[in-house]
Every structure is written in C-alpha cells, then in structure tokens.
Amino acid sequence: MFILPGIALQAIGIDSNTIFLIFWVGFFFVTFFYQARLQSYMALNDISRGLNKLKVMKDKSRKEAIDYLVNVGKAPSDPTQRVDQFLDYVTIMPVDIDPAGLVGKIDHVVTTNNDRVRAEVGTLLGQGSPVTISISENLLEVATSLNMIHKIVRHFYLLGKKTNSYITLLQLQMLMPMIIQEADALLNAVDSFKLGQPVGDGIGPVIVSRYMAGKEKRAVAKDTVMAVAEYKGRKLYVLKADGPMAYVGQPGVAIKKIIEEMGVKPSAIVMIDAALKLEGEKTGEIAEGVGAAIGGIGVEKFQIEEAATKAKVPLYAILVKQSLLEAITVMRKEIAEAGDKAFQVLNRVIEEKTKEGDDVVVAGIGNTLGVAQ
C-alpha cells in the first residue's frame, strides 16, 4: 500500500526514514483525533451482531409460542395476529411519587395483568387443560420478554448511532454479553415449558410436596393450595402453587389468610425457595437464613413480611442456589439432589425452632410446572 507513494517520494528526494516519520506522525494524528470514532464504529458492529442474535431469539420464541398454541393447545383459529398484539401489550406501573399504599396499587395492576393474560390465552385456546393453558401463558411471557429486550437494545443502538454518542454505544457494548446471556436463558426455558418439565425454580415446591402427598388439599389463594400435615408433634400448614401447572401462586395472600382469617398462630414460617447463586458458588448449595425467601416484584414479599410482623412470627429461609439459566430450564441433577439435603435442613429447622404442639407454616416457593402435590 505504501510502496508506490514511497517510491514516488524517494524520486523527489525524500529518504525512507522521512517516509517512516511521516507514516508514524499520520498514524499518531489519526489515533489521537479519530480514536473515539473508530471505537464507536467497532462498538456499532459488535452491537449490531448482538442485535441480530436477539432478533433471531425473539422470532424463535414467538414461533414456538404460536406452534404450541396450534399443535398442543389446538387453537380453533390462527392465533398469529393475536399473539403479535399480545407481544406489544404493556403494563403501566403505578406512580411512585407518593409511595403510601404503593404495594397495593402494584398488586392491583399485576393481578389485572395476570388475569388478562389468562383470559387472552383462554380466548385463543377455548377449552384447554389447565396445564396447557398455564404453559401457553409462560411461553407468551417468554416471547414478550424477548421482544421487549430486543426493542430496548435496538432503541439504544439506533439512538447511539443517530447521535454518534460514543458513551451510549460503549455502555451498550459492555452490557451486551449479559443481555445475550439472559436472553439465551429465556429461550432455553421454552423447551422445558413446552414439555412440562419441572424447572430449577421448582425445587421449593418439590421439597414441600413430600409433606403434602396423600393429604387433603384445599385452595387458599389464587393458584395456591395448602395441606395440613404432622411432623414430630407439630402441625404443619404446607402450601405451594397448584401443580403440575406452571403457576407461582400467591403465597403472600395464602400466608396472610392462614394467619389472619383461619386464626392459626404459627410459631414459625419456613420458606424454601431457589436463589440466584453468585459466580463461583456451586449449583445446589444450600443456604439458611431469616426473612421472606421469595423473589418477584415484591408484592408477595411485602404481604408475608407484614403478616409475620403483625403476628410476631419469625421467618426462616432455606435457599437452594442456582444460576438464572438453571432456574428457568429443566431441573439439573445437582439441584434435584440438593432437595434431599434441603428437606433434612427443613426438618431440622422445624425441630430446632419450634416445639411439640406448635403450628408451623411451610411454604414451597417457585414455579410448580411438573410438580403436583
């Protein structure tokens, strides 16, 4: 590339050392003044590739949801248009400038949204089995999440490109690996949901279902069931979401009802849930603690904390560690095997923290897909 100009320069009496000097000075100026532009260009390329990957994931999850509704759900008419409308449906969170009573408002909005999703799927499928309807709900939620992730990333990509904002692009480029990882986990969840396989998040319900097997079950809240069992002289009020549907139930409402409406005076509330592990922690590690072991938007956690505080009942937590991918895809052997250890820990906590004749509330928190009771 530089040979011809080099020969030309030598012809007019400029030697090779001067040529190298000119080259290095030129290189210095380009990198000094255009470095940000070059990096922006590389970031744009990088984000563009990630964005394409997200688009493929988004389209795949949408197609999987439509295929499931048609082939398994036996939708009477083509659900494509309805699904596309569903993907762009928004949930507007309540205003938080006056935080008093905010949890109740969030609960109201979220419950309205959940009811709408179920009604929408009911309209699409007509009469379907509860398991199929719940799986369809979950598949549509995955497709909606991936659609939203793609839209947000595309927004910042185009904004950065339009305004030539180096910092916007660089931040997005740095976040891309984590965004792709989360999107990939969501897409992987589709396979487990379609087949009705228990997911890692269902370890809490798997553990408490051991107490519930063969006992009479009753509904205590929406999609939530309870059974009364006995363990070493203690009366256990065991609750989980209604399986094997892909439900998470309303454990907050259920615990509140058990304490406030049924008049039970528990000596302890023990909650078992899956918890996201930190990098370096092993899958299936068990952690014990105090407090309400429940994730989500915070409404259920608030209700449980409020009911427990009012009744002065200690809250104990047993957590089974796993990654996000493991929590939303088919349960791994390490997690299933940790269930035995967690069950022993649960029994020990009940023995240590309560005495014979006490009432204890035991809640298995998580998605109950493929886990009945």
Partner: protein, 66 residues
C-alpha cells in the same frame, strides 16, 4: 479487538430422567422422561414389592460421552 458478543454456545446435551420411588420399600427406578410425567404422579408397580410407585423427581443430567 475481541468481540463482546458471545459466540455460539457449546451446550452439552442434557438427558431428562424420571425417578419413580416406592413409598413402601424406598426402591428407586430411573427411566427416561416422557411427556406427561410430573412429581407425585403414580408410576409403575415396584419391581421389588409390587406396591404402587410415585414419581419423586424429574431432572436432567449431561449425556455421557461413549
């Protein structure tokens, strides 16, 4: 410059199993998962004591390379 977008993942193939456990003698049987299996579902008769088994676990593990 290295790309920050992860490439195609090298995912290990997972095989899903259903564990049927006999509530009477504790005998556990491992078989391949079939659609419709769920935890607490009634399984086959126990090979050891002929009691009704129950699905106690459904889990995935990596395929062993042969």
């Amino acid at each position: 410059m290295m790309s920050s977008v992860p490439g195609a993942d090298k995912k290990s193939k997972l095989l899903v199993y259903t564990i049927e456990e006999c509530p009477a003698c504790g005998q556990k049987t491992k078989r391949a998962f079939t659609v419709g299996d769920y935890v607490t579902k009634d399984g086959a008769k126990c090979a050891k004591c002929s009691n009704q088994t129950r699905v106690s676990l459904v889990y995935a593990e990596g395929a062993k390379s042969s």
